[in-house]
Symmetry: C2
Subunit: 512 residues, 2 copies
């Protein structure tokens, strides 16, 4: 692996708490990892970080919970310290599902948990960055320019660079996924930002043990009525001859397929399908880093989970994950609250191709139960076999990690389905998860306030206002004349100029 | 008048557009006034400011309106320039209603209009500064510390210093006026901030021609159902022996009287009644500036208008407006969207005492129509006479300036009663008002975006989001540990330590 190492600095320890959004979680893992790597670093740093966080914890939980929590946490730190001594760089292939996470989920592997949270935060970034406001001229875009994406979100230490923004055409019947501005003149009538591709920088790559290409897909957060529409029919993946699949019995939900493959030639943002954007970008990046160890990690929440699974399948089915010298780059999906995507044959094909999928769900969330409420992977094999021909017999793929929001003492009992589906809540649940039936106990002390960022789910006594994430004055600023206006943005990032070349190279030209 | 003049500087011209909230309106009046005063200043400055504002205007109104507006505005500037040559310092007594505004309302006197807007903005400041959020620990307070009040609101050039915050006890049945935090531990369970007292600084006093003491009372902005409750009974002002009134037939609405006179001995914020706070503060300030020309200007919107009128009456009835050498400081109320306060006898008494009241109303607003929908100053004198004894025969006081939101081409037709009642909308209407039946035309080009600050009233094509005034992340900030928290505030301003002394001096001790 040809990555310059000297920039793996300790500055990460010193800051990261100075105003970023969302906060960098004070995970003990990277610190300890660094200690291993650089023998000069003393563990005293770790202790100081941990005791600091301890104080803040005390201010956010009630006196009632506190003592008990602290005792347990001290215990966890002692045991956790040992297991965390493992370095991500040494075991990343297991974390990425090489062995289907056997023995890593119950009890949960602390490194896997912290990686799940890290990728979950990259999926969450799609929500935090999305312009939902129908009164914004830029409704439906990413609020930030690509080159400053993680900085703008307060995640300068994430160590990834966004190489591409992803768009989809909104001419698709997926309620509440697309947002449109109410204003007459807008950036696009037909496109919506749906995610991004990012690559780990040298420093992070050294820590991860490989150059990581992450794709993060945006999902839906509000009004989950759309799931009803997902009772829509399964369609052979190969039916439109867009995604090549040798087996016509491999099927996926037609709405997801549309979202992934549709385009609008008249729009500069969605004149290429999401599929074309992804495949060309992956190809380009794999060529660029062909002499390094690589991974492709795809993440998404809700509808974004479906796109994550479809695109993972597509990348491997079409061989985009192969380097020039024929090595297969491992492709892994960390999905959150995702619905079913295809039929049993799709599952078999996907898994047969070696795509690894770990699906994090909350057992009370309805979205992972659809489509295929009646016929799915849980009915007896014989019934599955009989129902196989039916266009509404779905199957989940990969491995499921079940969480239960009722186990968190921080959350209200009274939340509705939107809360149960909330991504930040899943990240909070992950942080407290240690294994089936094990007591909920925050491991990284991830800020619980994040749960209420766009929800009303935390118990009242934590004193965190519901839905607190908002821009000052809805982004209005005073211009040089003192008038309040919506600022114009610099030219929106669309697609690289060499896109056509790459599409041709992949044999994806629309006239092909 | 012993005020230092040399600080009347031209710096006002150069800035004032750099991020304040709300914006300082680019009124041509002060510039021209200054030109008069200091012959060295050239009118070229005025032109440049005006043409600048012109440009911005173009960006906020549609092409359709623009040319016509601009032609009219040019004409207005030419004529306006002449009439504005009058200096406020020379005619402030007329502006403050010395002659009951005879001949100043139709067509409206440009100086009066700009003064009405200025005081209206001081009333609006009560809303902009109020913490309405039930999820805030400081719900019901002023969001800013007293000494930085106008700075925090982006009004550093206003030229007033807040000398006192006003509180009322919330143990009164006035729906939607008081706000309470949902959190258990709060700054006060029984108090709400209801306004402030401010005094003009030397520079502004020189411009105004006198030292101005302004009282601004907060009102209600949402859910106007409370007006129904105002059908409550009239009560003799002297009935509780709190406000001395020689005539027992002088009556006011009992809810307003309660709000003005009630207190809660157990609360450090409302252990003094609003009345005690006002009377002591006025007394103190009049003593402090006893050798200067003075004015007392009281402003308020909605329920704040009722408090403005009651307190103006009380100040004069109890002689607090008299200087040590026996001069009477003129007391003037500029009220907005105010309900009726008392009976005909109250009106006669108030006016007989020389209190001047100019009430700005929108003819479509229901609040100024209550209480006393059936029996009021508009029924024939004979009926009034007959109904005089009834406890629900009310009368407006002073002079009414009627605006009509339907005259503004900037506003939607579809607004509801809350819009019609909105204070920012009134200030916008004032800015465009020239006289009965005269065409609506913005005179100071006050930013129309302000109308939608806390309303959805502007026509869509102005591209101003509704309800855009909001804090970043609801005021949540990251603490030194990176956690999102509601920041603690410095000690809240309550009452001066010498309060008891002043109360005693006024004979207001509760044991009296």
């Amino acid at each position: 692996m040809a990555i310059a190492l000297p920039k793996i600095v300790f500055s990460l320890t010193g800051h990261g708490y100075g105003g970023e959004f969302p906060p960098k979680k004070p995970s003990p893992t990277p610190l300890l990892r660094r200690k291993n790597r650089f023998q000069g670093v003393k563990t005293v740093q770790i202790t100081s970080v941990l005791s600091k966080t301890n104080e803040s914890m005390a201010s956010t939980i009630t006196d009632l919970d506190r003592e008990e929590q602290e005792a347990e946490e001290q215990k966890m730190r002692r045991t956790g310290t040992e297991s965390n001594e493992r370095r991500l760089a040494d075991c990343w292939r297991e974390i990425q599902g090489q062995d289907d996470w056997i023995g890593m989920l119950d009890p949960i592997d602390p490194l896997l948990r912290s990686e799940l949270i890290r990728y979950g935060e990259m999926a969450q970034a799609c929500y935090d960055a999305f312009d939902f406001d129908p009164f914004s001229k830029y409704c439906g875009t990413c609020r930030f320019i690509r080159r400053r994406f993680f900085d703008s979100l307060g995640l300068p230490n994430l160590g990834y660079e966004v190489t591409r923004y992803l768009y989809a055409t909104s001419n698709i019947n997926l309620p509440n996924f697309f947002k449109k501005s109410r204003w007459p003149k807008v950036w696009s009538r037909n496109a919506n930002w749906i995610g991004y591709v990012a690559v780990s920088d040298d420093e992070t790559s050294a820590r991860l043990g490989r150059r990581d290409i992450t794709i993060a897909w945006r999902g839906t957060v509000t009004r989950l009525e759309w799931i009803v529409d997902l009772m829509d029919f399964l369609r052979p993946i190969s039916s439109d001859k867009i995604i090549p699949c040798p087996d016509p019995t491999v099927k996926a939900e037609s709405g997801f397929l549309n979202l992934y493959t549709d385009k609008d030639e008249n729009c500069r943002f969605c004149k290429y399908s999401a599929r074309e954007q992804i495949l060309t970008e992956i190809r380009k990046l794999i060529q660029q880093y062909s002499n390094e160890d690589l991974s492709i990690t795809i993440t998404g929440h809700s509808l974004g989970s479906a796109l994550a699974i479809l695109s993972a399948y597509d990348i491997v089915e079409t061989g985009q994950h192969l380097t020039q010298d024929g090595r297969a780059v491992p492709v892994c999906v960390f999905s959150f609250s995702g619905p079913r995507v295809g039929n049993v044959r799709f599952k078999e094909r996907l898994e047969g191709l070696g795509v690894k999928v770990l699906r994090v769900v909350n057992v009370h969330d309805t979205v992972p139960k659809v489509p295929g409420v009646f016929f799915n992977e849980q009915v007896p094999k014989l019934v599955q076999k009989m129902a196989e021909g039916l266009p509404w017999c779905y199957s989940h793929v990969g491995i499921e990690l079940q969480l239960d929001h009722k186990n968190s003492p921080f959350l209200k009992d009274t939340g509705g389905p939107t809360n149960f589906h909330n991504l930040e809540a899943h990240l909070h649940l992950l942080d407290g998860y240690h294994g089936k039936g094990k007591r909920f106990m925050l491991s990284s002390k991830r800020d619980i306030a994040l749960v209420n960022k766009a929800a009303d789910f935390l118990k009242d006594h934590h004193l965190v206002p519901p839905f607190w994430r908002q821009d000052e004055n809805k982004g209005m600023v005073r211009n040089h004349e003192g008038r309040w206006v919506q600022p114009e943005r610099p030219k929106l990032d669309d697609h690289p100029t060499d896109m056509h070349h790459h599409i041709k190279q992949l044999g994806l030209t629309s006239d092909s």
